[in-house]
Symmetry: C2
Subunit: 348 residues, 2 copies
Amino acid sequence: MFENKNDKQTPLSELGEFALIDHLTKQFEITQKSTVTSIGDDAAVLEFSDKQIVVSTDLLIEGVHFDLSYMPLEHLGYKAVVVNLSDVCAMNAVASQITVSIAVSNRFPLEALEALYSGIAKAAKRYNIDVVGGDTTSSTRGMIISITAIGSAVAEHIVKRSGAKPNDLLVVTGDLGGAYLGLQVLEREKEVFKVNPQNQPDLEPYTYLVERQLKPEARNDIISLFKALEVIPTSMIDISDGLSSELLHLCKSSEVGCDIYEDKIPLDPQMISTCEEFNVDSTTIAINGGEDYELLFTIDQGDFDKIKGNPNLTVIGFIKESSAGAHLITRSDTRIPIEAKGWKVFNA
Amino acid sequence: MFENKNDKQTPLSELGEFALIDHLTKQFEITQKSTVTSIGDDAAVLEFSDKQIVVSTDLLIEGVHFDLSYMPLEHLGYKAVVVNLSDVCAMNAVASQITVSIAVSNRFPLEALEALYSGIAKAAKRYNIDVVGGDTTSSTRGMIISITAIGSAVAEHIVKRSGAKPNDLLVVTGDLGGAYLGLQVLEREKEVFKVNPQNQPDLEPYTYLVERQLKPEARNDIISLFKALEVIPTSMIDISDGLSSELLHLCKSSEVGCDIYEDKIPLDPQMISTCEEFNVDSTTIAINGGEDYELLFTIDQGDFDKIKGNPNLTVIGFIKESSAGAHLITRSDTRIPIEAKGWKVFNA
């Protein structure tokens, strides 16, 4: 994972901008019937007939959002797409197109961009989306990735952050804290590697956590599940910055409060054992660690029977009046106010 | 123009990411009926009923696409929007929304971002578009701007690069070469300023050229004109990289050739006199200089009467069979093959 197995190094200047874009994008097939015109014109043309359109965008900067010393470029490409698709899922919509803009310094050879685009292509295939446009340019330093995802849904199915109401159940998908802990494992191995480059890291005990960090997935399976179960959440948000931060966003948008229960927060066994090894509190990690890309949503209590027993879904609490505030009820039955401790990019 | 008149310097870390986004985006009003949900959710929600949607995106990097030593931040914000709107115009569509993502290093105070967003807001107002989403984050160096523009048109009005056919007339809007020459003027003044910071530049003789560079406009007026004249171009592209480069794109997409006439290329008098002063050939500048953001399009000869005599439109040549190639017919009646000499970002 820490090796560069790529022997060939072709300078980007050998191709020129348009040839480079052609070379990188020729692998993208168009499969969506909503894509009318794709790469190769001034803009992409899309058609969704009577559906509403959902648009989400993200900007990822090397050294701020990712570290190429442990993030293989193919994984980075994959993850950059997933991060955006997760936002589309959080609207209860189905993503169908992305645009991809990349800027790289001349330190990157063509083969690096090929690896990145190969990850983008894998995500596009896995999530059944078309790459319909973008931009490829040079940067003065490092790699910059900007992706915009476009999806659609019928108006009645769109779920915002703002629809939660008192007594609704708070539900999360999957388990939490794994991606953050995976990052801690990778950071530790990077330090070991710096001291002794001959030392091959043994990541075997942390496979799940590292995969959560390096190859997260967007929960579009849950969007399909909602359709199958005939459930429309009353509000929804994706967990990119950590549960506590997203809970507060959701409560603020919906003008409500909430109680969540420490003993209900879903944790993976590997996450628990690694927290013990790192001597950190698993609840703190699960609540404040980001990048899990799970969904946090609320449903009317009347829908509980529809989701009950589904292993992908865990009820962690319920919505209260705004005046009640947002609290975590600990295992020892203490009420702790929830504070946003998510990732702050401007705190240098 | 070269001074920093801003006294107050508020570090971005004082606000935090979410407060910063709130602060910068609160000035944006929603005016488009196609905007259902704007900033503040996981994604924007839009609705265009029976129209097709047009999506275009651009990534602008400090030191590659702009130089803050002569580009005031407010102008930069304005121009970053215009560049994307120009792509939407080139599809014969009407832009209605943009998303704006910005990354800045900690060298930028809050007031710098306020100036940038003020320019973005001015463009949004001038072009009647909503700012519906985006991302604000930190960079390790410099400023990075990524904008995605969304527009719409009924399917029959969408114009691609690929519809030109032999005997169609080649038409350009406005005049060419001004923006590139404006950049040369600014570069020269920057060098003078480096040697003698007390020397106030006299840009008076170059007002038009400098404005073409610093405050270009997207030709949405031409899109309205097409509607009024009941003209649908057979193909269209915007002139961002230079006429020669765009002509070749259009010919390649449409699988045609063309002849254009040197004496027909529209030039501004200030552009001609400044070319003389700089001792450069005005045709070379008009053909290869980029960033004019004019439109290059083709129309059926039967539509000539509709556009004849309009001061915004100049017929510069006509479309030929692909085998004829693309040529410039000089004033001395020499046929010169057109080569793309547009801006190559990867040629360091």
